[in-house]
Amino acid sequence: MIEVENLTKYYGSQMAIEDVNFTVEKGEILGFLGPNAAGKTTTMRILTCYMPATKGTARVAGYDVFEDSLQVRRRIGYLPENPPLYNDMSVSSYLGFVSRIKGIESNQRAKRVEEVMERCSITEVKDRVIGKLSKGYKQRVGLAQALIHDPEVLILDEPTVGLDPKQIIEVRELIKSLGGDHTVVVSSHILPEVSMTCQRVVIINEGKVVAEDTPENLTAKLKGSESIYLEVEGPQEEILQALKGVKGILEVKAEPKDGRSAFYLESELKKDIRRELSSLIVGKGWGLYEIRSRGMSLEEIFLHLTTKEEEV
């Protein structure tokens, strides 16, 4: 549904994104993850035809965003970083205006406005002036604006920023419910958010795509090791030496804990050595109190990725 090829954008001489490639399948919810200034908004603005790329192409529903901009704009709903609201309008008249410029037939407009207000839970504020709504309600009006013409593709730039926890959950549920019928791209710099709502994640950092996969696979793929946590009672130095002898262990760190010793092990990827470890420890007569795989949370991958970039 969305194909992005070698997308590059320079603001003057400053690079914002470079050679960004990714695709989004129909009905998929894609998370677009990156820290501040990674180039998320820039990419989304190009996808929504707000501005042209310096180099590369992007296609939405088979139409080039530059050549067939009007066709693309008909099919896209876009929630920019700051919801584009007219503060002196009431919610319903604002949505009425948006429904007109999105090309909805006049006999359908009132119905669509009602539906979308229902869906975004803003019916109770429909006659209020937008400028006087709370941040959370403004965000929802922005979301309603993006949904009003029932677009095939939705581009949502940090839709949960500034919401309270309850509202965040509601918006996430809403986004999840959009998948299947709609193709959705959601940007965020908050990890749990994308891992909760998205089937696939593209991680972007300093203008470049650094990873692209399902939230689960990213965990396995990105780091060359898995972590194991061990708690053992016995002579720390001796245990450490014994652990270092186990095949597949890359690194061991020890520290005393409550009269016992805690060990943090890094082992080779996709190789579960917990069985060998436990038999080794029990065989030597030490006391095994705890053993568990720590896996890798996306959060760590993310930190890993971004710090690695900075070191270069």
Binding site: N82, D88, M89, I101
Partner: protein, 259 residues
């Protein structure tokens, strides 16, 4: 066409929701009414004096022309007062969209930039039309109590509309260059004053340059209209001026995206 209507409607609503429309119309009416009253009363005094003199010398009373003495100067006054009011009409048209980010909604919706531009321009022109239309009240008095010629009145209004449209196109251009509506207003005001006064320079420069300068002055071309003359040269001047202003605005909005 439908999209132009949507933008037009939105802008009109915003003029009348924020008190801009009422303020502009009311202030314009008060000031123009004040000048109108001044001119009318001095015209009446002039008539009385002329009649007394004629009576004294036992001659037929002179025929003083209300068109020449009241209506023509009134049109000139209206066009000058307009210079002060028009920046308020155009100042927020683009700058406010840029400041609040709603420009992102407009540019990513399936409407063209030309449609947006025309919708905004026509809304500004409509408000201006209402503003000068309100001064028809003054004319009602003249037609009620005197018998001025209708032709010059009509051509004067046509001239006012064209001249105002030309100013509006410049105001729209300046509004598209900034995010700040105050800067847009002050900038437009400055530009209007220059476009208005450029003809004065003409007198002090040589005949060659002077002619060019005076032909650029928006007021210079208005003169014929206020006399009741509709000259194709003036018409073409205004229409091409408006076109140029709108074209440059279009380019300015467009070039923003490339930066």
């Amino acid at each position: 066409m439908r999209n132009i209507g949507a933008i037009f409607g939105k802008e009109m609503k915003s003029y009348f929701v924020s008190p801009i429309a009422y303020v502009v119309i009311a202030v314009f009416l008060v000031i123009s009414g004040y000048f109108f009253y001044g001119m009318l009363s001095s015209f009446v005094q002039l008539c009385i004096r002329a009649n007394l003199q004629a009576h004294y010398y036992r001659m037929a009373p002179p025929k003083l022309n209300v068109n020449e003495w009241v209506i023509r100067p009134l049109f000139h006054n209206l066009s000058v007062i307009g210079i002060f009011m028009l920046p308020l009409i155009t100042m927020r048209l683009y700058s406010e969209e840029k400041r609040s980010g709603t420009i992102e909604l407009l540019l990513t919706s399936p409407i063209t930039r030309v449609e947006t531009l025309l919708g905004k321009f026509l809304a500004a022109l409509a408000l201006y039309g209402i503003m000068i239309g309100a001064t028809l009240l003054h004319q009602v008095f003249l037609f009620g109590y005197g018998n001025p010629e209708g032709g010059p009145v009509l051509s004067g209004y046509i001239g006012l509309l064209l001249e105002g449209a030309a100013f509006l196109s410049v105001g729209l251009l300046i509004s598209s260059l900034t995010k700040n509506q105050i800067i847009a207003a002050v900038g437009s005001f400055g530009a209007f004053l220059i476009l208005w006064a450029i003809g004065w320079l003409a007198d002090s420069t040589g005949p060659g340059l002077g002619k060019v300068l005076s032909s650029l002055s928006l007021i210079e071309h208005f003169d014929n209209f206020s006399k009741g003359i509709i000259d194709t040269g003036d018409l073409i001047f205004y229409l091409s001026f408006i076109f140029l202003g709108l074209f440059l605005t279009y380019r300015s909005v467009e070039s923003e995206r490339w930066r």
